[in-house]
Symmetry: C2
Subunit: 417 residues, 2 copies
């Protein structure tokens, strides 16, 4: 099954908005086995909308249109599409009742601008938008399905999840089955070498995709099969997944698309243990990442951002002599930071970072990108030196991930004690 | 002048990559007065590339193609375009010399895969790519310019900045002149009301655009004029800018596109003063934002992430009685946090946050999104309560910006003493 995405909105052409809606749709569609052939972004001008509809590829079955639906002048898309499909608008009381109910929740009443939002094309089907006033529209025209949705991300996602994707799934003769695996700190090329034999021996019809992002590689194992053969394929995927897990061992941090901070949080909660941070080069980013998860106050006690050496000494108890002798970016100091935060904040675990994020401060012995990370825990303190490269933002990002992954390994050992 | 952007790469259609290249291009093109008519994303398949070239709008003068240039099979785009334009490839020694030089820097030698990268279409002009091996190509065909660039963001940007945008600028009879203004914490609608009289009285040919993002609104004042009238228009824009600055007063945090953390950092450096953070609900994100700026160690001493009440008491000296009486999310506690961090870390300024980011922990008296922020400084302590809404991530993001803006106001008062 093939789809095209058309996004309407001058703000995308002007670069004021990055088109993350299409990326989200592309991901979800590929998961149900629908191939996105093309994404087109156009301005919210009738002629541009009509031209885009004229240019739809004949091989397309679903045309997914986002944007240009709203209470003000943006409402243009509905009128252009209605006219294009030789349709006409009528007032739908059930839509107006929904709009009134939404307004009531906010303690308001719909105004004159909102009433036309209940006008709906006669030949189109309503794709209910529980999250907003503009309803999704579905036309069948020349054997193709045309869906128009608002551009507001959570409204579009709601209509896709409740109105579009289930319909596509039920129409597919085949289903797509996936398994995800996430690995931190191993470059894509090294990972590929490690799993090459396993990958080459994958049975026909089962494919592997690498989805790399800074510091993390996601692996997706997929199969496309007739609906009747689902169970059989799940068994094959499970078998292959077990093999992959055995190869990757503790380097695999999740067999699902979970962020590291969620995995770490779950393990801390399961053990009933707590964590504190002692950050120099990451400047609070490790703590911010840990606390980005709802409910993290159950295991994050707090942290010290020790940007200056004085704070390292006075708040974390790092020995002045070691700062002078080894420098702040050293194994000795980062260990004392991790252990110091455990002692000061009375936590089971301490994570510490000290490095040269750049662009200044590098030397021959400690070039820019040199980062020492340490994790102190019930079984002792682990520390390691990394070379994170010359980009300040990436160095911080990669250090946060590497530190969380070190904590994750410590927690796994602790759990298996 | 009109342009179209074509991005080649299955990873965009699959949603594995968000098309931020096109957003960047859209911004830069609009700044030089080139209108982007359409952005099309297609897969890296010859038929799709040819179909996209066939579909170029007749009103287009520049077709900007990114992606599908690289040392492996990705190199496809070059072959398809060369064939499409009835051209042929020849080996260019000067390109190979450049590739060799790039490899030498990394201590490597080009391999067999790299040699074909020096093959270049005869009728095309080289747009030099100093950042990578794949060179930009510029064809003139049917009166249109076709540019092909690699999809690697920094390589594409380099070619745009050095090869494409200067050419467009020189061909434009008109120039585009802009002034930017950035405002924090005032909703777009309120801002629009405050500056309505000024906006309505703008002289003809001068336009204003609102570029909103969470917590921040950027304003762009633009004029498009004949090159010969540049100076005159700059004078008009300066005059209007001064008027706008007078209306917005200290609510305007920068008359340029600067992030708040840069503005705050510059002011701290100018005053020779320092800052520390005491964060509860923002969990380290204020410190992380401040230290994301190179050279911030000159004024960021450090911070305390006081997620638990024990840390608030023991590390920041918050009185237990106030925690019990008023709760952690209260004016009394947030003031003590800001003052406590100044005292403990010996900084001139202290920024503190305490709030309910949600989704749990709200009550009728303190609903989710309630955030107290405080800034302690040489002239005393400022504190304010905010309602940041129910989205955890946005609450943290908006709290960081509001806290930095409060510090900015404090620093401005301090500087004008």
């Amino acid at each position: 099954m093939r789809a095209e995405i058309i996004t309407i909105g001058t703000e995308i052409l002007l670069g004021q908005t990055v088109d993350s809606n299409s990326a989200w749709m592309g991901q979800r569609l590929s998961e149900v086995g629908v191939e996105v052939q093309r994404i087109t972004s156009i301005s919210d001008v009738p002629a541009a909308i009509r031209a885009a509809l004229d240019a739809v590829l004949p091989s397309t079955q679903w045309v997914l249109i986002t944007g240009g639906l709203g209470p003000t002048k943006d409402d243009l898309t509905k009128h252009v599409l209605t006219e294009y499909f030789g349709d006409s608008l009528t007032f739908r009381p059930e839509i107006f009742a929904h709009i009134e109910a939404l307004f009531l929740k906010m303690g308001r009443v719909p105004n004159a601008l909102n009433r036309p939002q209940a006008d709906f094309p006669e030949k189109a089907e309503i794709l209910h938008n529980a999250m907003g006033t503009a309803q999704g529209m579905l036309w069948t025209h020349n054997g193709m399905r045309f869906v128009s949705m608002p551009g507001v991300p959570y409204e579009m996602k709601h209509i896709m999840e409740t109105g579009v994707l289930p319909r596509m799934r039920s129409e597919q003769r085949q289903v797509h089955v996936h398994r995800y695996f996430v690995v931190q700190g191993i470059p894509e090329s090294e990972l590929a070498t490690r799993i090459a034999n396993w990958e080459d021996a994958l049975p026909e019809g089962i494919s592997l995709a690498y989805l790399p992002s800074p510091g993390v590689v996601k692996l997706r194992l997929s199969a496309q099969v007739e609906k009747t053969r689902q169970e059989e394929v799940h068994a094959v995927l499970d078998f292959q997944s077990d093999k992959l897990k055995a190869i990757l061992g503790s380097d695999l941090y999740a067999d699902d698309l979970l962020p590291l901070e969620v995995v770490v949080g779950e393990r801390l909660k399961a053990l009933g243990q707590t964590v504190g941070t002692a950050e120099s080069c990451t400047g609070g980013a490790i703590a911010a990442r840990l606390t980005s998860i709802a409910g993290s106050s159950a295991y994050v006690i707090g942290g010290i951002v020790a940007y200056s050496n004085t704070v390292k000494e006075q708040q974390l108890g790092v020995r002045k002599a070691d700062l002078l002798l080894h420098g702040a970016v050293s194994e000795s100091v980062v260990r004392q930071m991790a252990e110091g935060v455990c002692k000061r904040l009375k936590t089971n675990w301490g994570i510490a970072s000290s490095g040269i994020a750049g662009p200044d401060g590098g030397s021959e012995a400690k070039p820019i990108g040199t980062v020492w990370l340490a994790v102190a825990g019930p079984q002792g303190t682990w520390a390691q030196k990394f070379s994170m490269g010359t980009n300040r933002t990436r160095t911080v990002e990669k250090s946060v991930l590497a530190a969380l992954d070190a904590l994750r390994r410590g927690l796994e050992q602790e759990a298996s004690k």
